[in-house]
Amino acid sequence: MESVKSIVGRHGKDRTELLAMIRDIQASRGHVPPEAMTELAGLLGLSEADVEGVVTFYHFFSLAPVGSYAVYLNDSITSRMSGRSAVARAFEEAAGCRFGGTTADGRIGLHDTSCIGMNDQEPAAVINGVVFTRLTPDAARNLVAAMKAGTPVSDMVRDLGDGANQSELVRAMVANNIVKKGPVLFGPFASGSAVRKAAALKPEGVIDEIKKANLLGRGGAGFPTGLKWEFCRREKGPKRCVVCNADEGEPGTFKDRVILTELPRLVFEGMAVAGYAAGAEEGILYLRGEYAYLKAHLEQVLEDLRREKVLGKSISGVKGFNFDIVIRLGAGAYVCGEESALIESAEGKRGEPRDRPPFPVQIGYLGRPTTVNNVETLAAAAQIVAHDAAWFKSMGIPNSTGTKLLSVSGDCARPGIYEIEFGLSVRELLDLVGGTDAQAVQVGGPSGNCVAPKDFGRKIAFNDLATGGSIIVFGPHRDLFEVVRNFLEFFVEESCGWCTPCRAGNVILLRKFDKIASGKASRRDLEEIESWGKLIKATSRCGLGQTSPNPILTTLKSFPELYEARVRKDAGFVPEFDLAAAAAAGCEAAGRTFACEETDHE
């Protein structure tokens, strides 16, 4: 087993590589033992409590052994809709342990995890970094048998996916499921053409072109990309930084995974263009831990691009155009999709958002002015520079120019990746994907909007239904309360815990929701859950808490009748406390029946 000292040395004894060091310790030892943390802390000049804080922040790091084979089975709503519970039961029965635990011999561990970016091929799991998709109870039993036989995880992979998923460096079961190709992401692109054209312009000229194209951030927030680059450029250097946000954690989104699998050159060239425009020579691809299986493939592409002079020193032969990219891996934390939390994580810390101002373009990675852009944004930027702004603006609608990549999953005939022009209505989208009988469509993931049929005329656009790309279709037979509950649980788990409304408030919302769902609510409970949800939105510190009540607030608005049906109209107040249930054990011990008149709370 590699010593901690050797691991730290291999990562240059650099604190910003702390997550990578912990990842190596976790992988070789099956957990992060206290003595390893003591040693890590000593070598990096940190306190052990500080190192422990980082270890315990990330879902894929653990103080307790997670099993020689650590199964992380996706627990998102789409996974559940695709038969997760039968698969989970098969894993448990075959392995002989429950989810949340490990087998007595420590060989197999079963764990829940948030959406792993495979929503169109659920149920899916990550086992020791290797992705398994479209799991069935039989597949689960076969996997457990292979684990018991000591088979290496990579040898358990069957039926490779399409495209680059079959390449030697990826070898993944993951399917791209590209259903509709569009002209921006999937249009022709000559590698090197974007940096060449950028280099012929002044940096300000590149920014102007992006501004003219009106490219808005594709991660969901929709901030103007040209403006972001300009702000970054205006700050005093000397060092600035470009970060590509590949943390794609919003449940139901998987388009960045497909872009990185099939079009990594476009993304990396977009980063180089951003670097040229913003005056940065340093690029970081922050890749979510769930996509670690793509790392070797991406490293190879980076190597190729350096050889082709698309990255490195004097790009395109232009003196002073220097830009290179390193990859940093996340380790299971949705909040790291928030740009300032991502920067903290890339620095090797807990992924906790920063206060703003100062904004990352002012003080970002290691204090350097930093522009953080989504994978799709950077890919689109490369194409805009390779073509021109007018070409890009000819697609989409005013204020939402160009195309958008959607990740479609749930109850529809053709789940997968769609490159559509902005302005498409939900109804048109449902026709496209084969989901016309939908009772609801979740646009933008749990943090987005639950859209009812009466609103299917609304459009995918920044000023109507904004989305980072997650589209989940719910058929007529689904219980939307189950959907909402799954989303709320997700936010409770993924809150970083920093601020009160998000940390404590989301737990309160979940409990109140359960009270309503169980039919113990009065009208007053509906009023309270709405007002508390608004409070959490208004007072939370970052985007996570500012959107976490959306599952409740948007379904309350779209489907008030579902809530009305659960409310007790006869009571002004219904207590949450169930006296009969609380007294049951005592009554049984005393051999009496419970006899207490329920108080009238009218």
């Binding site: 409590a49 101002p357 510190r541």
Partner: protein, 234 residues
């Protein structure tokens, strides 16, 4: 040094560049209720009690830099209820038993509840299981009372910048831990400082208790924030 003019609740005030709204308000004798903020420490905006409205937008006054011409709403009914609602979250997410707490009367959470007029929280109590830690020689940590303000993390560090207290875990499971190696090396003075900086009764110095009797403690005499407001009257 240039002066910044701003208004709070209709009152004209002046402040200095680099100040946060909380700091500038305080210098003008206006108290903005806040729990996580502490003089001399970098603000973290964690408690969210100090929400004010600036130009129609709700913001945390402890992290928001003061700007020229700001028109700030502070002591208005809807913001007061918002603060109370957040304060009540802190009460239900932990286990707060004032009558048996060493910090009663010196506790800023308790004082804030009196100041904001809290009676019973609007949410159900969560009664979490938060075991205390007593392994350290000098410090006893009662996690039941923690409001996650991170003052200890910020204030108590070694000379070379190592964190002696650090956050552990995430979401509602976050706890502040005393480093097991550095904790045992704390001087009496640092241990006392750690206890003082904690706004509630989490960090307690062992072997001293109730040195000042209840009834003669800081907030027994005057409500929290009144020291700031007195400077305005003077």
């Amino acid at each position: 040094m240039s002066e910044i003019k701003f208004m709070i609740d209709g009152r004209e005030c002046t402040g200095r560049p680099g100040q946060t709204i909380v700091q500038a308000a305080r210098d003008n004798g206006v108290y903005i209720p806040v729990l996580c903020d502490y003089d001399g420490l970098k603000p973290v905006g964690s408690c969210r009690i100090c929400m004010v409205r600036v130009g129609g937008r709700i913001q945390a006054a402890c992290t928001q830099p003061l700007a020229e011409g700001m028109v700030i709403e502070n002591d208005v009914p809807d913001l007061k209820d918002m603060r109370l609602a957040i304060l009540e979250m802190l009460f239900v997410e932990g286990n707060h038993m004032c009558p048996t707490c060493e910090k009663s009367g010196n506790c800023e959470l308790q004082a804030m509840a009196y100041r904001l007029g809290m009676t019973a929280p609007r949410y159900p109590f969560q009664w979490p299981d938060r075991p205390a830690e007593a392994a350290d020689a000098k410090i006893y940590m009662d996690h039941d009372r923690c409001i996650q303000c991170q003052r200890c993390v910020r204030a108590i560090q070694t000379k070379d910048g190592k964190r002696i207290f650090a956050s552990r875990d995430r979401s509602g499971r976050v706890r502040y831990r005393l480093d097991r190696h550095l904790g045992s090396k704390l001087s009496d003075e640092t241990a006392r400082k750690a206890m003082e900086v904690c706004p509630v009764g989490v960090i307690l110095k062992k072997e001293v208790g109730f040195a000042v009797p209840i009834g003669k403690r800081k907030f027994d005499a005057k409500p929290i924030g009144s020291d700031i407001e007195e400077t305005a009257r003077r």
